[in-house]
C-alpha cells in the first residue's frame, strides 16, 4: 500500500522551514527521499536504513521512526531551488520494491 505524505502541498517564503511527513502501514526496511522538479527525473536526497536514524546534508535532514513506521524530512532556511515535489519511497522487508508516497508539492516564493 502506498505511503501517505503530509502535507499535500506547502508554500513557503525563502528562508522559512518545512517538515514533510511520510507514514506507512507496513514495517519498513528503508526509507528513501527524492525531489522531482516538473518534467525532470526524481533526484535522490537521502536514504535511511535503521530505526531512529537521522541523516542530513546542507540544510536538508531526515529522521526515521521504525516503530511508528514514519519518516520526516526537514528543510531549514529554504532556498528557491528547494521548490519541487518531494516523494518518500519505502521498502518493506522481503523485497526490493520501492513504493513511492503520495507526494508533497513545495513552492518557495522570494
Amino acid at each position: 500500500q502506498q505511503p501517505v505524505q503530509s502535507p499535500q502541498a506547502v508554500i513557503l517564503r525563502e528562508g522559512e522551514d518545512a517538515v514533510i511527513n511520510c507514514s506507512s502501514s507496513k514495517a519498513l526496511y528503508s526509507v528513501h527521499w527524492y525531489r522531482q522538479k516538473h518534467g525532470e527525473a526524481p533526484v535522490f536526497l537521502m536514504i535511511l536504513l535503521k530505526g531512529g536514524e537521522q541523516k542530513g546534508h546542507d540544510k536538508i535532514s531526515a529522521s526515521f521512526n521504525e516503530k511508528k513506521q514514519q519518516s520526516s524530512l526537514y528543510l531549514t532556511a529554504s532556498q528557491l531551488s528547494y521548490s519541487g515535489t518531494y516523494f518518500c519511497g519505502t521498502v518493506n522487508f522481503g523485497n526490493e520494491k520501492l513504493t513511492f508516497g503520495t507526494g508533497t508539492r513545495l513552492t518557495i516564493i522570494p
Binding site: 527524492y34 535522490f44 516523494f87 526490493e96 520501492l98
Partner: protein, 115 residues
Amino acid sequence: GAGVSQSPRYKVAKRGQDVALRCDPISGHVSLFWYQQALGQGPEFLTYFQNEAQLDKSGLPSDRFFAERPEGSVSTLKIQRTQQEDSAVYLCASSRGEGRGQPQHFGDGTRLSIL
C-alpha cells in the same frame, strides 16, 4: 556513462502499435528498475532486475508489458498492442547493489503518448 540514459525521450504511437523503450544504466550498477509515472502522480514500480535476472515483475500491468536485460546491462521495456491508458512517463533507475539499501538513480524518462 555518467548517468542513466533513456531513449527515446518522447514516443508517440497509435493505439495497437508495439513500442520499445531503452534504458542504459550507470556502468557497473547491478540493479535496474522500471517505473511508470502518470501525470501528477508518483512513480509506480513495474519491474526489477538484478544483473540479467528479473527478480520481481509484480508491477507490470498486463501481459502486454515485457522487460528484458539479457546481458545484465542495457534493458528494454516493450509494450505490445498499446492502449491509451499506457500513456505515461516511463522511468528507469539503477543502483549499485540491492535496491532496498541503495540509492536509486533515475534517468530522464521516456514520455509515451498513445493516440
